[in-house]
Symmetry: C2
Subunit: 550 residues, 2 copies
């Protein structure tokens, strides 16, 4: 245990050395707007332009005055403004209320009405008291927003105030210049989805891959896996993925499980949340990282952690080889109150093990080029010994791969025997034998059926349209991936256009955490105010387009 703990610290130290310096961009307001209530608009609010941004400079404001500026696109960064007094010298502090919104609803509705299920402190507003005017102020906190409402609480008496400057210093660890241009063949609507996706990822890429820069501002492995895929096709920031992998590897739970999420501050530490699928995604994230980077040293160093996730996950199987179900929140899969997770957990286990096999194969096959040399001198004997050791290591990897293959067979057979309904061909989950979209999608991704059967399963899924549908962009991504894996390219494109395309038509500057085209005001937290409107797990169209539709 002591040695393990030492290893952890070394991993975290390695992660900390990879902390990126953020790139800064200055963004100015592009116009002055108002949020107007409109029943038919998304969340009941739309924006209306009421003036040019330049007009701000000459507007003298006092108690009760307010304005809303639009920065033209989603921003993650620090607000700076320069205040002067008008009509008389400022002889008292200036008190302002600042409200930052990613969406018009955040500007339109009062945060005082918020009654959702997460802490109100995620809503981005401040009351600031400014002692020195004229003065230039930069607020210490980072905000995620496109719109900023300023309410003047004072001055009320002798003087007024005006804003000489007002801008955001936006930050990201992503380098926009590194993103390859899309070929001309990509149609306009997909280019737009790609652009929004890239912006989403850019704004989530800070000193880790955050899930959402407004909320929760931390590293979840479910989000990381998808962000990394998009990153490989766009910014190609390998070090940031590496940093995140080492954070997860260094900050496991007491039982050795990779935790679902980690915090960077005040010092790196794991949350206590363990999710069955998320811990297995460590394997997938490592697999994908090596495939994109070829960084074998990292692969070798983190492989034991990945393999440990398999072993820990296998412990949850019952005597039939099925993931034991229970009513707790043991597996994520999707934000859906009614979704049973057993089948998808089973599938993710297979999906993870298949990537583990790939890693073991890579590691086990690498020493082959050293074979067949003659040995003579001391130097050569030394080389021969090294070669023998490498060969032994490779042999160990191959044995791991073989053991994994046996487990894959066993777990896949259990899924086919106990979860698949022989009548309908659908995979059923839990004691209630629930047939959900998620279970079918994940079984396709786990590739337990022949390819043609996968395609037929998905066709039947669309035809039957079971009630427990995908809820989040995260689940929609996996649906699209499953369609692509099964060769249903057109259906995949149609889904992408229907989902992310509709989000874009609804005004997304960056893709959202939650979106249900048939219930657009849905929030898993009881309020549209607290949803994250720039959310990493929603940024995959850029990956899908660049990998499959170019």
């Amino acid at each position: 245990m002591r040695q393990q703990s030492f290893m952890d610290q070394a991993f975290v130290a390695k992660a900390e050395r990879l902390t990126p310096t953020l790139r800064e961009r200055r963004a100015e307001p592009v116009r002055i707007i108002e949020a107007e209530a409109e029943r038919t608009a998304l969340h009941g609010w739309k924006v209306r332009e009421t003036g040019k941004a330049e007009a701000l400079r000459t507007r003298a404001l006092s108690k009760g005055d307010s304005f809303v500026v639009d920065f033209g696109d989603h921003q993650v960064g620090y607000l700076t403004f320069k205040l002067r007094s008008e009509e008389a010298r400022a002889d008292a502090p200036v008190r302002l209320k600042l409200i930052f919104g990613e969406m018009p609803v955040e500007i339109g509705e009062s945060f005082d009405t918020y009654d959702g299920w997460l802490d109100r402190s995620w809503l981005q507003d401040e009351i600031v008291n400014l002692d020195v005017v004229p003065g230039t102020y930069t607020l210490p906190r980072r905000y995620s927003f496109r719109y900023l409402k300023v309410e003047v609480l004072t001055p009320a008496r002798k003087f007024k105030v005006a804003f000489d400057e007002l801008f955001v210093t936006s930050v990201s660890s992503a380098d926009l210049a590194a993103v390859p241009a899309l070929p001309d063949s990509v149609p306009e609507d997909l280019r737009e989805l790609d652009r929004i996706s890239v912006r989403t990822l850019q704004d989530c890429m800070q000193t880790v891959f955050e899930d959402g820069p407004k909320r929760d501002r931390r590293l979840w492995i479910g989000d990381l896996r998808l962000q990394a895929l998009v990153n490989y096709e766009t910014f190609r920031n390998m070090d940031l993925v590496k940093r995140c992998l080492y954070l997860f590897a260094g900050l496991r739970l007491p039982g050795g499980q990779v935790s679902a999420c980690v915090y960077e501050k005040p010092e790196p530490s794991a949350d206590d949340i363990y999710l069955y699928d998320y811990s297995l995604f460590f394997i997938a994230a490592l697999h994908d990282y090596y495939e994109a980077s070829g960084d074998r040293a990292t692969l070798e160093e983190l492989w034991p952690i990945a393999l440990e996730q398999v072993h820990l996950s296998l412990e949850r199987l019952d005597e039939r080889g099925l993931v034991k179900d229970d009513p707790s929140w043991y597996c994520f899969t999707d934000w859906h109150d009614d979704l049973n997770k057993q089948a998808s957990a089973q599938a993710v286990l297979i999906y993870g093990m298949k990537r583990a096999v790939a890693i073991a194969d890579w590691l086990g096959g690498a020493s082959g080029d050293r074979a067949g040399r003659e040995t003579a001198s001391a130097q050569e004997r030394k080389e021969a010994q090294a070669q023998a050791e490498a060969e032994a290591e490779a042999e160990a990897y191959r044995k791991q791969a073989d053991a994994l293959r046996k487990q894959i067979d066993r777990v896949s057979a259990a899924a086919l025997e106990h979860l698949r309904d022989p009548e309908t061909g659908f995979f059923a989950s839990g004691a209630g034998r629930q047939v959900s979209w998620a279970s079918q999608v994940w079984m396709v991704l786990a590739d337990v059926l022949p390819r043609e059967e996968n395609a037929a399963l998905l066709d039947r899924l669309f035809a039957d349209n079971p009630e427990v549908r995908p809820m989040t962009p995260y689940m929609f991504h996996h649906l699209v991936e499953a369609l692509l894996a099964a060769g249903r390219r057109e259906k995949a494109l149609e889904q992408m256009r229907a989902y992310w395309g509709e989000m874009a038509r609804d005004g997304a500057d960056t893709f959202w955490e939650v979106y249900n085209p048939s219930d657009k005001n849905n929030s898993p937290y009881g309020s549209n105010l607290i949803n994250s409107y720039c959310h990493a797990w929603s940024c995959t169209p850029a990956y899908l387009i660049r990998k499959h539709f170019r």
Copy 2:
């Protein structure tokens, strides 16, 4: 004009070089209290101890919880606290409301009810959002307070918060160790008034002599003059007075008048307020500074500014030699809506000119020691020339003194002839011939009558008790000074005990900006919340006791 402007910059630069480094002290809460409404208490609020300060460390707080800590004495400084989470890791920002109060009323009453005549931004409260918990936070603004109320706005859900540490770093440019001990002969109640006065001055002594560290936090010359007097008897920080004199000298109004108040930030600048009496107090402040410090270089350099104030003030006289009255706020004297200022302005002019004469006499008499030497060598001839120049300079000072004496005679005669009522002997002010306490007090301080008549005037004042009475500690100070000048030492002591003594009995930790023993809830600003309860012009008992009652 160009040259004048250059001079100004040199004065300001000299002032800036004298900016003190503030001394820091750490102060901890001494107990947990509650503010309780009680009709008979001052402002309707009293405090009740509800726990020991140590108890805070173990109290886990969430939405809706609040506490009030008492730091035991008035503090001016910066708040630091260390927050930890309880029950679970903090997974959302923590949102707190902090309310700082010098007095129980500020803790008891909601600032939302404030409807006074100064900007609400002077009321000291903040809403802070803290992204990282556990964490140690120091708020960037300085507060003036004894009580701190903390309201927890979030967390509301998964975790709670507790305060591991909570303290103030109090700041002042005053060195408490420099204050001479009072002799044993000084009675206990005066020692207490002295202690409170010293604390008041200490908390107002920052990078200038502030009028009030809660409100207005700037340098007024009316306050400076009194603070300097107390300072000479206590902290003896000569450089801070010098800095303030150079600020006023360097930042005059376009016509050359010393402005009533100056700001330090963002860079030193004058307010546009000109007050007849305040500009004349520049002379008195310079006079007192030289008397305390013997700093002749400063006296010589600032004398032209002082003399200019006389000349500018004389311009307001009518053909009879009386200060022209008008309904504007041209002279301060006291916060009293009904007070006519003509007589007091006339008296302050005489008071100022008498101190100008003293300065001119000091400057004119200083070269006498060089006279009577023989001249022979080149060196000696050079010395002789310097001596001749010095003699010419001294002669110029003496001429200035003579001219001032003539003006004093003229203006005093005008006061006696036109303002003094031959029947009652009272000085009457303005077209309405108002007989106020302030007019008599200032005429005594201007010393226009023989000493016995001054005493008789004040005796009659107490006997007749005209309706327009002193309102502020500032005016009470001048009443006590007048009694002392007229030899009414016992009456002076009685007044001091009745006024500041009553304030002390009412719970003053530091002396207050406004206090009317017969109307204790009076505020010139329409609300007790916005009064300053540590106010420089109220700190003179330490001067009066140390100069006259030891």
